[in-house]
């Protein structure tokens, strides 16, 4: 079955006709060619595919494109760009919060949602808040520092 989905991605209206079994992450990567969002496990565990759906972090591999009718989606490309990094992107760079970078877009999208919804940010809140994002390189210390750093900038 084919479905027609109208949604808003990074502030731009988009209409896509796709098979009903298309996931949101496939729509983003394959149809819209926004390849900053990654697919790690495709089993809703690793969090590399995390995007914001109506402002909240979700695993885009476990959402159907059809479920996003009328939704606002923000991907890593919508957060900032090379010349104008979001404070979270800047902090990951400053604090060396990545090595291979594969998990980074998902980490950043989760971390931004975390800072938006938690009234106080500390190491424990960050570590628990990022439980849905797996990094196999860094051991998380610099990721935690990056989120702490960004949270201060985002609140100023």
């Amino acid at each position: 079955m084919s479905v027609s989905v109208q949604l808003n991605v990074n502030g731009k209206p988009v209409t896509v006709d796709c098979p009903a079994n298309t996931t949101l992450v496939d729509l983003i990567r394959e149809r819209l060619e926004l390849t900053g969002t990654h697919v790690g496990c495709d089993t809703s565990q690793c969090g590399a595919c995390t995007v914001h759906l109506n402002g909240r972090a979700v695993k885009a591999c476990t959402v159907l494109a059809a479920q996003c009718e009328g939704a606002e989606v923000t991907t890593i490309e919508g957060l900032g760009d090379t010349d104008n990094l979001h404070p979270m992107q800047e902090a990951f760079r400053e604090c060396h919060g990545l090595q291979c970078g594969f998990c980074t877009p998902g980490m950043i999208m989760s971390a931004v949602d975390l800072v938006h919804r938690e009234s106080s940010i500390n190491e424990q809140v960050i570590r628990e808040g990022l439980e849905g994002n797996i990094c196999r390189c860094t051991g998380y210390h610099n990721i935690v520092r990056a989120v702490e750093t960004a949270a201060k900038k985002m609140r100023n």
């Binding site: 079955m1 479905v3 098979p19 009903a20 079994n21 996931t23 495709d42 089993t43 809703s44 565990q45 969090g47 995390t50 759906l53 909240r56 972090a57 979700v58 695993k59 476990t62 959402v63 159907l64 059809a66 479920q67 009718e69 989760s110 949602d113 975390l114 808040g129 990022l130 439980e131 849905g132 994002n133």
Partner: protein
């Protein structure tokens, strides 16, 4: 995942009609069990009936008697709801321990309860609190709802619309999470209610169950020591690569003691 027909009805009646007309239909709530199952081809329904377009299935209501939570209310909404945190804090805490932040933003209480996953958290809370599962046609007591592994008292096409929780005097939930998935290897929910002490256990057996031995012991003496000497039959426990049946039987006692300690 295989292809399917996608429907987005605007009412409960329409959803049920679509279900009954489908060859092999299934309701879609948050999709955080269904979609992974379809990817693994453990499920291959012909029709997905997305409930997200139906108004009135989401939200928390408390008018001073029972706490009512709509079936499509996400785990995060329950975990962060000031009403739930004030009326039944243990239920909000249970919801905050499910999966991870992204999963909690999508997964729903109705989906979790209707799925009756042996390792899901909500069945322990629903059973421990003596809740009622309200459907499109009746209300089912939690004691009669969870009938087996992924099996419930729901009939073909019957749709959970909300869960009604009586307010307990006090309640606590403690679980031993699987370190990777955070599903409950064993989770124990203990509630002191007007009708007595209720102890419900998830993760250990094919579906959530009440432990009569613990309830009796805690009724006569609500203390950690009262649980000494109680043992659960490992023959009735699940066994898998995460935990043997004997280990799960042991964990039931350990988690129950921790839950009692939280209530003292």
């Amino acid at each position: 995942m295989y292809d399917f027909n996608y429907h987005k009805p605007g009412s409960v009646d329409e959803a049920i009609q679509l279900f009954l007309a489908a060859e092999d239909g299934i309701y879609l709530a948050g999709g955080h069990t269904l979609l992974p199952s379809m990817k693994q081809r453990l499920a291959a329904p012909t029709d997905l009936i997305d409930l997200a377009g139906i108004r009135g299935l989401s939200g928390v209501e408390y008018a001073g008697a029972d706490l009512e939570i709509g079936a499509l209310t996400s785990h995060d909404e329950v975990a962060t709801s000031p009403v739930v945190r004030s009326v039944i804090p243990a239920l909000a805490e249970l919801a905050s321990l499910i999966g991870d932040a992204q999963v909690r933003n999508r997964g729903t209480i109705g989906g979790s309860v209707a799925n009756s996953d042996p390792a899901a958290d909500y069945p322990a809370g629903v059973l421990g609190l003596g809740a009622e599962i309200v459907t499109n046609k009746r209300s089912i007591a939690a004691d009669n709802f969870f009938t087996g592994m992924f099996e419930t008292a729901l009939e073909e096409g019957e749709l959970v619309t909300k869960i009604r929780f009586p307010k307990p005097d006090a309640a606590a939930y403690v679980k031993f999470p699987n370190p990777a998935s955070r599903y409950a290897t064993v989770g124990v929910f203990i509630a002191r209610t007007v009708s007595g002490i209720r102890v419900a256990i998830t993760g250990a057996a094919p579906s959530a169950f009440r432990c009569a031995d613990m309830e009796e012991a805690l009724t006569s003496n609500f203390s950690v020591e009262a649980l000494e000497g109680i043992s659960l039959d490992a023959g009735e426990m699940n066994s898998d690569l995460h935990a043997t049946a004997e280990y799960r039987a042991h964990l039931c006692i350990v988690m129950a003691k921790r839950a009692v300690r939280k209530l003292l």
